[in-house]
Symmetry: C2
Subunit: 388 residues, 2 copies
DNA sequence: AACGTATCCGCAAACGTTACCGATACTTTT
DNA sequence: AAAAGTATCGGTAACGTTTGCGGATACGTT
């Protein structure tokens, strides 16, 4: 028979249902409900969680209160130097590691900046990350990176995860697919600093860091024109990206300035995977009246064009001028060298990070300058030098 | 006169020192100590912290308890479907975002894996990151990345930060400088899963993921030998890195197998910045009896050699064979193409990540296989094809 | 003595969740 | 109808910090 844990009666116990698969009892005598704890089922599985020494441990071992320890560890004023030293010694002795999680919870901040990038394969974003990482860690912040993989759905889920993890601020570069922005407006609503970089949009009231795509594109195309190229094709990015539109605008503007007619069938926009680049390149180079130059929106597409030209026996730069965008490492080494536009990637990371730190410092919502435009540089190599 | 906030006596108040610059009083009647709160100093500065809706808010608005809400949100069994729906609706209505911080604290885990890499400039580590990131996010884990910048001190501080942030596991690739390992043994002591990859050492009892550096190096050098090169120099990495030693070992073994003598002054070890590569390359190419091939420990050094050879009018591959290591993107495009060893970077990231997830699943400290060796691939391009 | 001052320390309430242990009302079985 | 079982829900103690404010003590000053 079972005895009541409370009144120790033995005859008065009866069953009272199940609680989570455990038989439940009630004592008719003292009306006490209880379950029998599982017969100590030898659960060596349960691996008693290794105890991390906490502030409380320190407090107990030297006979002061938690608050004293906390204050001592943070160099607070209201503390006796001797006490402080004792705390510090004991902390060292017990190998105390502060629990950032508890700190985060009580302070409701994480000292972490989030960053979402669409992809990782070009050296562009890794470089931006380096830049941001450098200035953030120098200021004691962490950086957690997520990759949206050019998918809007993933981007949304990433932002949600960032919110749940209570990052202090977010740096984001949008997906090719991103056309709606509620997931970003949340940050504004919550008062969490947000900065868009590189792949930006106009629908979010947040600071933006970009490069001078229009000017860069203009420079590139003008450079081709000045080198005697007449019919310049444009292999552009998807038009829902602002950068693509800006670069297209620059292309058109340069042609117009120099009185060239714009041939719409020499303009192709779309997301430029390597495969697509091959398809579009084939189309362009097999046109019966083929262009004598191509301005591509990124270096890999430009390189694809150069390789294809080589296959077809079209000489670069004599019969075909090529200019890319980004200055990937391989662009310096290919064929005659690819003329391209170098982007200040590291600087972009650094300025973005510095900016968000400023926003964090300023408790008040200041009127920040809304956009920062970084300068690119035209790197002239062999692929565009017909005149010389 | 001042009235006692407790007993409302008026005449019995007298000063009792200062506390944090505020006048303090004591009531002689009820012996109550108090300070007068500052006269409500209109602090609109204080920007009332925007309230995040919590579980408690939901609970209150539909008149249930916190536990019920928590259970409802997690699809627990013990819950009435109607209640669950009500909770879910209210959560949506109030735009509830779970506070991961609180969750982390109570569960003492963060669903986050840390990763420390020495640098970011080669495409190698970014690619590893992509691989790891993919499998981790697929399993609902986050990845926070830190960069030790090839500095031991930074590496140590990184690991400390990781510990403080209570990551669930750590993936690390060591610094060139790292020769002591207490900062890693801590993880073992704490029972936090740890995996070394690429830059590993033997002094830490943790799983390791590496490539077959020895074999790869052997293959590369043998390939040079089979192509008729006689005196093969080796531009190696710093010898405290295991990879460097393995590659050196492979180099020696290949020479020995084919009965070549090993000329020690054709072997240079050291950290291969671009500048150093130039210096060493100059030394090698200006040797009065210069080598007819170079096996470099990374592609950038190999490319530096090729460029320098071009400057000096030394023809590659006719007069100088070159083989690199890593297959950087530029290696496919330079000069005659750089023969090099392709490393399975993505796979390295993936296997490392999968492995640590296994370790997390297995509560017990299982006997994991201690090392996993991934296969590399010799990519043969023009820079080493003299025979053909 | 009686009062004023400065210094140091402790109490306890947050922070938002989770999960254990019960409790209640209702349904089914004996 | 009593006993047993089921389905839901609530109370509350953790988790480890930080911090506002009250309390105690020792010392200085009338």
């Amino acid at each position: 028979m079972i005895a009541c844990p409370k009144c120790s009666e033995v005859g008065s116990i009866m069953k009272a249902g199940y609680v989570r698969n455990k038989q439940r009892y009630v004592c008719k005598n003292c009306n006490y409900f209880f379950t029998l704890s599982a017969p100590e089922q030898l659960s060596s599985t349960k691996k008693s969680r290794r105890h991390q020494t906490t502030i409380i441990d320190i407090a107990r071992s030297i006979g002061v209160s938690n608050s004293t320890v906390s204050r001592a560890l943070h160099g607070h004023v209201d503390i006796n130097p001797e006490t402080r030293q004792a705390v510090l010694d004991m902390a060292a002795k017990l190998d105390y590691q502060p629990n950032q999680l508890a700190y985060n919870l009580v302070k409701s901040k994480t000292n972490t900046i989030g960053m979402i990038v669409p992809e990782f394969h070009n050296p562009f974003f890794p470089n931006v990350i380096i830049g941001a990482h450098d200035v953030l860690t120098a200021e004691g912040y962490n950086l957690t990176i997520m990759q949206s993989n050019e998918s809007y759905a993933v981007e949304v889920s990433n932002t949600k995860a960032m919110l749940a993890n209570r990052i202090d601020g977010l740096l984001i570069s949008l997906t090719q697919e991103t056309n709606s922005f509620e997931h970003l407006q949340v940050f504004e609503k919550r008062g969490i600093p947000l900065i868009l970089f590189n792949r930006v949009c106009d629908d979010v009231a947040a600071p933006k860091v970009v490069v001078n795509d229009f000017e860069a594109s203009f420079m590139a195309v003008e450079h081709l024109i000045l080198n005697g190229y007449e019919r310049i094709a444009h292999l552009g990015g998807p038009l829902n990206l602002l950068v693509s539109r800006e670069r297209l605008r620059g292309y058109r503007a340069a042609l117009e300035k120099h009185g060239k007619s714009i041939e719409e069938d020499l303009i192709i926009q779309g997301m430029l995977s390597q495969q697509k680049a091959r398809i579009y390149g084939k189309y362009l180079l097999e046109l019966e009246n083929r262009p004598d130059a191509v301005f591509a929106v990124n270096d890999s597409a430009a390189i694809e064009i150069m390789l294809m030209a080589a296959e077809k026996g079209i000489r670069v730069p004599e019969e075909l001028g090529v200019v890319g965008f980004s200055d990937n490492p391989e662009s310096a080494y290919i064929g005659p060298g690819l003329t391209t536009i170098r982007q200040p990637t590291l600087e972009m990371g650094k300025t973005t990070a510095k900016w968000i730190l400023q926003m964090l410092d300023a408790e008040e919502e200041m009127n920040f300058p809304q956009e920062r435009i970084l300068k690119t540089e035209l790197v002239i190599r062999g692929s565009s030098l017909r005149k010389a």
